[in-house]
């Protein structure tokens, strides 16, 4: 239903009957009325956009000027000739494997701890008191509100440079994300099998293991695999703040203006992302068979 349709459905007449010829259809209200929420949202959005551009003083004119575009063109040109020496390529391969490992271990940790937190964070059945729900949800929301990079920057202080801080940062943030998704899955799961076991007086723990978890596990694994696709991008990037892997190599070589190495690293990143996306897709297909 478009905006006009919305206005029509909200229509109440504002014209007195005497001003209308008898039997003619009432004129629908224009959507630009002052009290339509669509109108206000639109006005607000436009105002926000205009304010943003104005306050940032982006000088897009300068950025998109001929000189600037020329520099960007030169930069891109330098990126077109990657460094393909075997020594460098082997280092690149090692860094790619490190990044892959970071994303995989981080996602695995998050799936495990996310599930552990999702159980107290969900209401297993309609009357469940779920005493820990509020607190656990708070923890999960805090974990997921802070981006992976910020977690990495914080953890670097305690754990030092290297991929460990990056892995943990991914793990912490993703625990928040997966934990909340898992909790929602558990709450929305069909209760059929679980109620039958509860009627037999079986405790909640075993009801979870024998009924709820088998029901939701395909969905949980699907979420985890989807999240891996996101995490490989994040892992590639965390190295920039000192988290090892491809990101660290990129930051290093770009800092030295070594454009050939940079272009190889960028190509490796893109290939790695595409690889993980494909693996995740096929794994999800396999699981849903």
């Amino acid at each position: 239903m478009d905006a006009a349709g919305t206005a029509m459905s909200q229509a109440t007449t504002d014209r007195s009957p005497s001003s209308q010829p008898q039997g003619a259809p009432r004129r629908p209200r224009h959507w630009m009325r002052l009290d339509s929420p669509v109108c206000w949202s639109l006005v607000g959005t436009v105002a926000l956009i205009v304010l943003s551009f104005w306050s940032l003083d982006l000088q897009l004119g300068r950025v998109l000027s001929v000189e600037s575009l020329g520099r960007m063109g030169k930069f891109l040109g330098e990126l077109m000739s990657p460094n393909l020496e075997p020594v460098f390529l082997s280092k690149l391969l090692q860094a790619s494997l490190d990044t892959l490992a970071m994303s995989a271990v981080g996602t695995l940790l998050a799936a495990i701890f996310g599930l552990l937190l999702a159980v107290p964070a969900s209401r297993s059945y309609a009357g469940d008191p779920a005493r820990w729900r509020f607190l656990t949800r708070l923890v999960l929301n805090a974990l997921r509100a802070i981006p992976e990079l910020v977690w990495a920057a914080l953890l670097l202080i305690s754990a030092g440079l290297g991929p460990f801080a990056g892995t943990l940062a991914l793990g912490l943030h993703t625990t928040g994300v997966l934990g909340r998704l898992f909790a929602e899955s558990i709450e929305n799961a069909p209760q059929h099998a679980a109620s039958a076991l509860r009627v037999q007086g079986i405790g909640e723990g075993r009801v979870f293991l024998y009924a709820t978890l088998p029901t939701v596990s395909p969905q949980l694994m699907s979420y985890s695999l989807y999240r891996w696709e996101n995490n490989i991008r994040a892992a590639a990037v965390l190295g920039v703040v000192g988290g090892g892997g491809l990101g660290q190599m990129l930051s290093f070589h770009m800092g030295l203006f070594q454009m050939q190495e940079t272009s190889s690293i960028l190509a490796a990143m893109i290939l790695l992302v595409i690889l993980v996306d494909t693996l995740s897709y096929f794994a999800r297909r396999l699981l849903s068979r």
Binding site: A193, A196, A211, P214, T215, P218
Partner: protein, 282 residues
């Protein structure tokens, strides 16, 4: 194993989601079932047959009245006491309560959980024990080849039989079975009801089952209860239920009576797992 003695005294019950103005699902019901009895409950749709089973199984608290299992008033027990009492019963809902991707053997072993310790339960998840017992139970329903299959690979009728086979594994003294034959063809239905009755007798458990197939109910069950609109209309031996009594019970619902075999109940399709695309900001 011997059966449980059941008593209902002046029980009224409503569905949890029912409005205040609607008629209660069960009204003013009093009934005693002796240990080891086989009872069939018949009646038209909406009579409250499933609600009665839920009351007997301590799955629904009555708004008025008492429910007594083996001399214990069920709803005055402590939570632990109630859980222990529940361990003695087995409830088979009309739609088999089987997680789709679970294997048949694990679904059957789940019925045995009240008799297993925590450690044994966990071991069973990893590597199923009691395989012979499970195979035997499945063989009673002619499903022994399906032992290791996934539940969602079975047909509707096979799933229903698996749901019934769970009764043979449960350490229960009371079997409450809701519409055991709704998805079964006549031959299988005869086998299934014969197996249920035979095993119930062998173990001495009390069996209460709701049935749409009134011919089966009156022929096979020594005691038949007739429910209509939440009230107990009659409580007679099977052979004493005449055509007139049935006609009165099913007045305005004659089409249900006319079908010798009940219509196949619509299998509840568990909703497919929704793929939420937005799992992150990437």
């Amino acid at each position: 194993m011997s059966g449980l003695r059941l008593e209902l005294k002046g029980v009224c019950a409503r569905h949890p989601a029912a409005t205040k103005e609607s008629r209660p699902a069960i009204e003013e019901l009093s009934l005693t079932i002796e240990p080891g009895e086989h009872v069939a409950v018949i009646g038209p749709s909406g009579a409250g047959k499933t609600t009665l089973l839920q009351l007997l199984g301590a799955a629904l608290k009555p708004s008025v009245g008492h429910v007594t299992l083996d001399g214990q008033s069920v709803w005055t027990l402590s939570t632990r006491g109630l859980q222990q009492q529940r361990g003695q019963l087995f409830y088979a809902p009309q739609t088999p309560p089987l997680p789709p991707r679970q294997r048949v053997i694990v679904s059957l072993l789940a019925a045995k959980l009240p008799a297993l310790s925590l450690w044994q339960s966990l071991k069973n998840l990893l590597y199923p024990q009691h395989v012979e017992e499970v195979a035997g139970a499945l063989a009673q329903f002619d499903l022994q080849e399906k032992l290791w299959d996934r539940v969602d690979r079975l047909s509707g009728g096979e799933r229903q039989r698996v749901g019934l086979a769970r009764a043979l594994l449960a350490p229960a003294k009371l079997w409450l079975v809701d519409e055991p034959l709704s998805a079964l063809d006549p031959t299988r239905a005869r086998q299934a009801i014969a197996t249920l009755l035979r095993e119930a007798s062998a173990r001495g458990v009390t069996l209460v089952t709701t049935l749409h197939q009134v011919k089966v109910a009156t022929a096979e069950f020594p005691r038949v209860l007739g429910l209509r609109e939440g009230k107990l209309v009659f409580d007679l031996p099977g052979h004493a239920v005449s055509e007139e009594i049935l006609a009165k019970l099913y007045a305005q619902f004659e089409y249900e009576l006319a079908l010798v075999e009940a219509p196949v109940a619509p299998q509840e399709q568990l909703p497919p797992a929704k793929q939420e695309i937005r799992v992150g900001c990437a």
